[in-house]
């Protein structure tokens, strides 16, 4: 009898489970991009082959630009400042840093997608235009199936929806206010990237090797993140970053049922360390950097550019939110560790870059060194630090995209000529291209009048203000080492004789040209007139809890 009553109550007609409140409007940048990705999959399924590439480019650009417009509208409505808030029952935070980084990621992705669509660099096959991606990624490298697919001029147009999915994850990553949401975002951004690394048209084996390495190490790092999340849940009894912060600072009342584990400092410290490992892997900080050179080298160059710029932006956003929202209360515990990581990252990245002979590996080690410079801004633990990191990420993204886009243009009969020796004398063959690449290298080195200088100055100033002056000294010294190898490449391009059988510089279509031009524009713009964007970053530097 009693059981019948219980059943009747559970199966009653009135809604007894309160529906969660979801703010679709404020989540629209992510929803637009995910929606475009789904449309892309449907296009992939139902459109005839010859229409796919152009349609996919259109869908991707529409989705990414639409997402960017949504970000700008949200920011204009004040969601970056006065109306910033927690959404979706507290699991997503839309605030200044989130919207700023989402904007950077979307712009980066727009330019990266333009380089994907470049069809002028590879020689035509039977009249078919082909791009940087494998004809049929599942075929054995060098096998009969692959030859046939290449003859038919097939292209892997799935790269576009994959990119959109990755971008969707990247948009969520710096906005996630909950460790589990952060984990989901991490996976959503990582899984497509693993696939995208594997589909280079040339050097298939190297590309597949890169993907396997990235996948195995990435899965390992994700496991660290998840295990750390579990420990932190044991510590705080909550996954929300704000509630963890309350437990850390002792404000929150202890739930009696969790009294055994709550406020157990061992759980807190081990959990924080493991979650940080997961995130530091994604930003490519030493000692979790070993995947970077192999993956950057093996992945198709347009993908490398996208990955280097957008993944780093998203992952630093998440790292900032984690440390500034959830763990400001124990900064005296994590700061010394991050000091060590930052010093190692700057020094190892800069020194190993000196010995590199491949331009893609060189840029990979340079990206490791830059991760170290950005970490010094994170260590400042104040608003200026956040603003400096935001600005640095904006500046760095465009330089990186531009530099990798230039790498796609220097080619010989085997595809891209990435060995540095073949870049000798490039300045005489193609002064314009060499000058553009030199500009990007100078920006990487942080020479004044480029965006790199402003960014580096901002993070070092913030770090010095936050009491990390020794770190700044190490940073400046590693910058000097780094400047050595950037300038070595410039000298190689302009002051050595070109090889007789050296590479040629391909003339790109308007697509790649736009990306490079935009890179140059942003690099010079942020170097000469940085004030507007510095102000923007400063305005966007408050995290909501």
């Amino acid at each position: 009898m009693i059981a019948t009553h219980a059943l009747a109550a559970a199966g009653g007609n009135s809604p007894s489970i309160p529906a969660p409140h979801i703010e679709y409007g404020q989540l629209s940048p992510m929803l637009v991009v995910f929606g475009a990705a789904l449309v892309g999959i449907l296009a992939e399924a139902f459109l005839p082959r010859r229409l796919r590439a152009a349609t996919q480019l259109g869908i991707s650009l529409a989705g990414l630009v639409g997402g960017f417009v949504a970000v700008v509208v949200l920011a204009a409505q004040g969601h970056a400042s006065t109306r910033a808030g927690l959404l979706a029952m507290g699991s997503v935070a839309i605030d200044g840093p989130a919207l700023f980084l989402q904007g950077v990621i979307l712009l980066t992705a727009v330019l990266a997608v333009l380089t994907y669509a470049e069809g002028r660099l590879e020689p035509r096959i039977n009249g078919h235009r082909i791009d940087a991606f494998a004809a049929q990624a599942a075929a054995v490298p060098g096998g009969e199936q692959e030859r046939e697919a290449t003859r038919e001029g097939l292209r892997t147009t799935e790269i576009y929806p994959l990119t959109l999915f990755a971008v969707g994850g990247m948009l969520l990553f710096p906005a996630s206010n909950d460790l589990l949401t952060m984990f989901v975002a991490l996976e959503v951004l990582s899984l497509p990237l693993y696939l995208m690394c594997a589909i280079a048209r040339r050097r298939r084996l190297l590309s597949q090797e890169a993907a396997v390495k990235y996948f195995l190490l990435g899965a390992f790092a994700s496991a660290f993140f998840l295990f750390g999340t579990a420990l932190l849940y044991g510590y705080a009894g909550s996954l929300r970053l704000g509630e963890i912060a309350d437990v850390v600072s002792g404000v929150a009342p202890v739930t009696p049922a969790l009294a055994v584990t709550t406020q157990n400092d061992a759980l807190l410290l081990i959990g924080l360390a493991m979650v940080s490992v997961g995130l530091l892997f994604k930003v490519g900080a030493v000692p979790f950097h070993s995947w970077t050179p192999d993956v950057y080298q093996g992945a198709p160059t347009p993908v490398t550019g996208f990955m280097a710029a957008a993944t780093k932006t998203a992952a630093f956003g998440a790292l900032l939110r984690l440390f500034y929202v959830a763990f400001p209360g124990i900064r005296w515990d994590w700061r010394p560790v991050m000091w060590g990581v930052a010093i190692l990252t700057m020094v190892v990245g800069s020194i190993l870059a000196v010995t590199q002979q491949d331009v893609k590996r060189l840029l990979a080690y340079s990206s490791i060194a830059h991760a170290g410079f950005i970490l010094t801004g994170l260590i400042a633990t104040d608003r200026r630090g956040v603003a400096a990191v935001l600005f640095y990420l904006l500046a760095y993204s465009f330089v990186t995209l531009g530099a990798f886009a230039v790498v796609t243009l220097v080619r010989d009969s085997k595809g891209e000529a990435t060995h540095l020796s073949s870049w000798a004398g490039l300045g005489r063959r193609s002064p314009l291209l060499a000058a553009v690449f030199a500009l990007f290298l100078l920006a990487f080195a942080g020479i004044p009048l480029t965006s790199g200088f402003t960014g580096k100055f901002a993070v070092f100033q913030a770090a010095a203000g936050g009491g990390a002056a020794p770190l700044v000294i190490v940073g400046v010294l590693s910058s000097a080492i780094a400047a050595f190898f950037y300038i070595r490449v410039i000298v190689l391009m302009f002051f050595s004789d070109p090889q007789p059988s050296g590479p040629a510089v391909a003339v790109p279509s308007a697509l790649t040209a736009t990306t490079i031009a935009f890179g140059v524009l942003v690099t010079l713009g942020l170097g000469l007139l940085p004030q507007y964007f510095l102000d923007l970053a400063t305005k966007a530097s408050i995290f909501i809890r």
Binding site: A19, A45, V140
Partner: protein, 119 residues
């Protein structure tokens, strides 16, 4: 300790059942071997002959298994929702339709790309 006694008992019964079944089968079962029975058991892979250079194995099985998992997960979400359908109201219905539509997009892609054909 008392609280764990049933678990230990269950473990003991499970172990006894597993070992007992194997022993009983070898004692009482008829022994008629054929080729298929002597092959090593591997999901979806033909263990012999080894592919040249340790290279490739058929991926068809994995594709099917992966699809199975996709729909399995869908059911995992659908089932509890269907049980308390009216408790969640319109919100639950809309979200579930969105979820099914998303899975359907993947399904359409697999179908059009020939993922459902065995050969």
């Amino acid at each position: 300790m008392n609280a764990y006694a049933p678990i230990l008992v269950l473990g003991a019964i499970a172990a006894a059942f597993a070992v007992g079944s194997v022993v009983m089968a070898s004692l009482t079962g008829p022994k008629r071997y054929n080729r298929a029975k002597l092959e090593a058991y591997e999901c979806g892979i033909e263990p012999t002959p080894q592919p040249v250079g340790g290279g490739r194995f058929p991926i068809k099985y994995y594709l099917t298994a992966m699809l199975f998992i996709v729909f399995d997960i869908e059911i995992v979400f659908l089932y509890p929702w269907a049980v308390s359908f009216d408790a969640l109201g319109i919100f639950g219905l809309v979200e579930m339709l969105l979820f099914i539509a998303t899975v359907f997009v993947a399904y359409a892609y697999v179908w059009r790309r020939g993922g459902l054909e065995w050969d």
